[in-house]
């Protein structure tokens, strides 16, 4: 089972990194950017075939280490759920 975790700063938390990248892109001519925020992608491969169990375990990982609840929120998706039918991996 592969699980992809997205960790982002909560709304309202200033993202200085995102603001700097936004300024750089505006400088390159992408003046239509209204907002840009940076997050992290964490791909986890688990020895667990049951999606519900995998979600529970990854939720625990997020709570204990992967995200700091003061600043960040997380979401996850089961990657094997998204694979087209008949395609391996």
């Amino acid at each position: 089972m592969k699980v992809r975790v997205l960790v982002r700063l909560k709304p309202g938390i200033m993202d200085v990194q995102g603001a700097a990248v936004q300024r750089a892109l505006v400088g390159l001519g992408f003046s239509e950017i209204a907002d840009l925020r940076i997050g992290k992608v964490i791909d986890i491969e688990l020895d667990e075939a049951r999606p519900g169990e995998a979600r529970t375990r990854v939720g625990e990982m997020c709570g204990q280490l992967l995200a700091n609840p003061l600043l960040e929120e997380y979401s996850m998706e089961i990657l094997t759920d998204l694979a087209p039918r008949g395609v391996a991996g």
């Binding site: 938390i13 200033m14 200085v16 990194q17 700097a20 992290k40 204990q64 280490l65 992967l66 700091n68 003061l70 600043l71």
Partner: protein
């Protein structure tokens, strides 16, 4: 007073702290490896600055869940003293031993400079030799030192007088211009309600000898030594 200096892979201020404790203060000190779980004979554990475990994921995040920090919870429960500086402060926050979190400097720059700190709380073993309003000069050296806590936590810090140091001007005024990293309320250091766990971004170990450009950091160590009484317990104010 028996000191321990914790060493994680990536710690860089361990030798400086060890030097100050052994050569300037003439106190017994040993290094504590990050996998150790036994802190029995120590009176004060120092978490030095650096980039523990590469500071991967978030500054101090992995170290905050390491074996030695787990042991630190019992140590704190028994009344042991903990001083976390720079990465050590980040680790204490990530471990939940202090509230809040340290985030990327608002200026996005790594700041290595001298700062002035106004002393807000002298009711801790680390600051009992200082006076409220005293201005100390100590260097900072970090990229992620902007203290953040939610409004409720900030209110509690203020109400319980847990803010120990704030960035200030040379004459002790807390101003935006004297805030090097965008820290909430110019917070540079806080303490737990018991006064036994102190986290601060500045480096007292780099201001402990005249040859290093200042000795204000030494005042904190001297406060600590002054708080130990003969029967091995600590003086309560």
């Amino acid at each position: 007073m028996r000191f321990g200096v914790v060493v994680f892979p990536g710690t860089w201020s361990d030798c400086d702290f060890h030097y100050v404790v052994s050569e300037v203060l003439h106190q017994p000190v040993r290094y504590v490896w990050h996998r150790e779980r036994e802190l029995g004979q120590l009176d004060c554990v120092i978490l030095p600055g650096g980039f523990s475990y590469g500071d991967y994921l978030r500054a101090g995040a992995v170290a905050g869940r390491s074996p030695v920090v787990e042991a630190l919870r019992d140590f704190v429960g028994r009344g042991g003293l903990v001083l976390g500086s720079c990465n050590g402060f980040q680790i204490l926050c990530e471990a939940g031993l202090l509230p809040g979190v340290l985030t990327r400097n608002e200026c996005l720059q790594y700041r290595c400079q001298s700062t002035h700190l106004v002393v807000e709380n002298v009711d801790t073993p680390f600051t009992r030799g200082l006076r409220a309003g005293q201005v100390l000069t100590m260097p900072i050296s970090h990229g992620e030192g902007k203290y953040y806590a939610d409004a409720e936590t900030l209110a509690r810090l203020k109400q319980q007088n847990l803010i120990v140091f704030r960035y200030a001007s040379a004459d002790g005024k807390v101003t935006k211009a004297s805030n090097p990293n965008g820290s909430l309320d110019n917070i540079a250091g806080i303490v737990n309600p018991e006064g036994t766990v102190l986290g601060m971004m500045p480096h007292p170990e780099r201001a402990s000898e005249t040859a290093m450009g200042g000795t204000d950091g030494l005042l904190m160590f001297q406060s600590l030594l002054g708080s130990l009484v003969e029967d091995g317990t600590f003086l309560k104010r």
